[in-house]
């Protein structure tokens, strides 16, 4: 449980520092989301859920988000991944890409819906961001998922419960 936790903190650090100057029009892959998805597939529900909750909480803490949206959305995404772990065969590049891409989109929509529900004065220009930012970002997140999953399988799997992403 400790290693994925530290890896999550490391990923958040990368996302807040290294990825910022490298991003194109604020579009950068969400590697913390990829880790959350992997946790859903490989970790037991209790430890994985707690880590997903904690990583979401950290995302909220270091972002300008005052509502705590990521704490909820990351737990939700973890649950979806956990629910589908025995229903999907995520071995190939395409299946991993599509899975991460679609769940990144789902999270984006969830955040927009929650923002809309919690903030009645939500400016309309946030919705076009779905096409400008969310779609390309989900695409990049999907692209980095297959190599990251392979790395996680090598690095994290021997220390976790040996389920892995099949």
């Amino acid at each position: 449980m400790i290693l994925p936790l530290f890896l999550g903190i490391f990923f958040i650090t990368l996302q807040t520092t290294l990825f910022t100057p490298l991003s194109i029009q604020r579009v950068r892959p969400d590697i913390v989301l990829v880790l959350t998805l992997y946790l859903g597939f490989s970790c037991p529900v209790i430890s994985g859920g707690i880590i997903a909750f904690f990583l979401g909480y950290l995302m909220d803490l270091f972002s300008g988000n005052t509502f705590g949206l990521y704490t909820f959305s990351r737990v939700f995404i973890f649950c979806v991944a956990y629910f589908f772990k025995d229903r999907f065969y995520l071995e190939g590049f395409l299946s991993r890409f599509l899975f991460a891409f679609s769940l990144a989109l789902v999270e984006g929509v969830l955040i927009l819906v929650l923002l809309n529900a919690l903030n009645p004065k939500l400016p309309g220009h946030l919705f076009p961001l779905f096409f400008n930012i969310l779609l390309p970002q989900s695409f990049f997140t999907g692209l980095v998922t297959p190599p990251l999953f392979s790395l996680f399988n090598r690095g994290l799997l021997p220390l976790s419960n040996r389920h892995g992403v099949r």
Binding site: T17, T20, V45, F53, L58, S63, G64, N65, F72, F76
Partner: protein
């Protein structure tokens, strides 16, 4: 037998129970934040403090690697021509790079100091150590916190103008909500016409002027400054320049778009105003003019 059976039933429902509990907890946390506009302060501060060293270290490593790339790696192909010259070139480049970096840092610090002296407000200088990890919100993390006198809501500025305000604080680190975030709102006036408006974040390095009366004559290029009515921001701080004015449609207000005076993508050092009771440059000039006018009348 019953015990064994109930244990298996429990195991069967563990996933569901735990998931519901976690989601409920996240929802409770969210409702707490929405109600009070703040999180669990103690945990927030604890987590900010425990993660900030990683951010600091990472920023340091990135700057070092960037420096190495700028000073060494990009010169490798040229240096193959002459081994002796290569060594010399690398050394000189390294030296120039270091000197340039020092000169730039010195210039920035000098600007900050001059600005600080000019506006005679009580301020703290801080370094930006991290950016917002998400794409929806706009914030930065700085290396000053409550122990340095930083409090929530304090104005954050730079010599070029307004940057934002303190959103969350830890003992030694804080998060700054940038003016381009859609949650940000600053009471402002158009410098030329003195038309009042609210500057709200629009994302993607743009802000919008809200509640700007249609009768007000504002044009592209007009400068917008803080009104001083907000409480946190002193009067007369540069916010940005109007880039677009729209009077389309009906209603009593017009729409205007604003480009912040500060390049928020390249923030390195910032100033936090800890006390905003003293007048600013704009007010000082006004006061001076008034006193001169009175003296002339006399």
């Amino acid at each position: 037998m019953m015990r064994i059976r109930s244990f298996f039933l429990f195991r069967k429902y563990t996933f569901l129970t735990f998931v519901v509990l976690l989601l409920l907890l996240a929802l409770i946390l969210m409702s707490l934040r929405v109600k009070q506009r703040k999180g669990v302060d103690f945990f927030d501060a604890l987590l900010i403090e425990s993660c900030s060293p990683f951010l600091k270290a990472s920023t340091f490593v990135i700057h070092t690697i960037q420096g190495i790339f700028q000073n060494y790696v990009f010169l490798v192909s040229l240096q193959e021509e002459n081994k002796l010259l290569k060594q010399r070139v690398v050394e000189l480049q390294k030296e120039i790079g270091e000197l340039r970096e020092t000169a730039l840092a010195k210039e920035r610090v000098q600007n900050l100091l001059q600005f600080r002296e000019k506006i005679s407000l009580s301020m703290i200088a801080a370094e930006v150590i991290g950016q917002d990890p998400s794409s929806w919100f706009k914030s930065v993390t700085i290396n000053k916190g409550e122990k340095d006198g930083v409090r929530k809501g304090m104005a954050v500025i730079s010599p070029e103008g307004v940057i934002g305000q303190i959103l969350k604080t830890g003992p030694y680190h804080s998060t700054v909500l940038l003016i381009t975030d859609y949650n940000s709102a600053i009471d402002s006036v158009v410098q030329r016409t003195r038309a009042k408006a609210i500057v709200e974040g629009k994302g993607e390095s743009r802000c919008q002027l809200k509640y700007l009366l249609r009768t007000e004559e504002v044009t592209i290029g007009d400068i917008v400054v803080t009104s001083g009515l907000n409480g946190n921001f002193p009067k007369g701080l540069l916010v940005g320049e109007i880039r677009k004015v729209e009077k389309a449609g009906q209603g009593i207000f017009q729409n205007a778009e604003l480009a912040p005076s500060v390049d928020l993508a390249k923030l390195e050092e910032v100033l936090i105003i800890t006390e905003s009771s003293l007048p600013l440059q704009e007010e000082k000039v006004k006061n001076k003019k008034k006193t001169i006018g009175i003296q002339k009348k006399k």
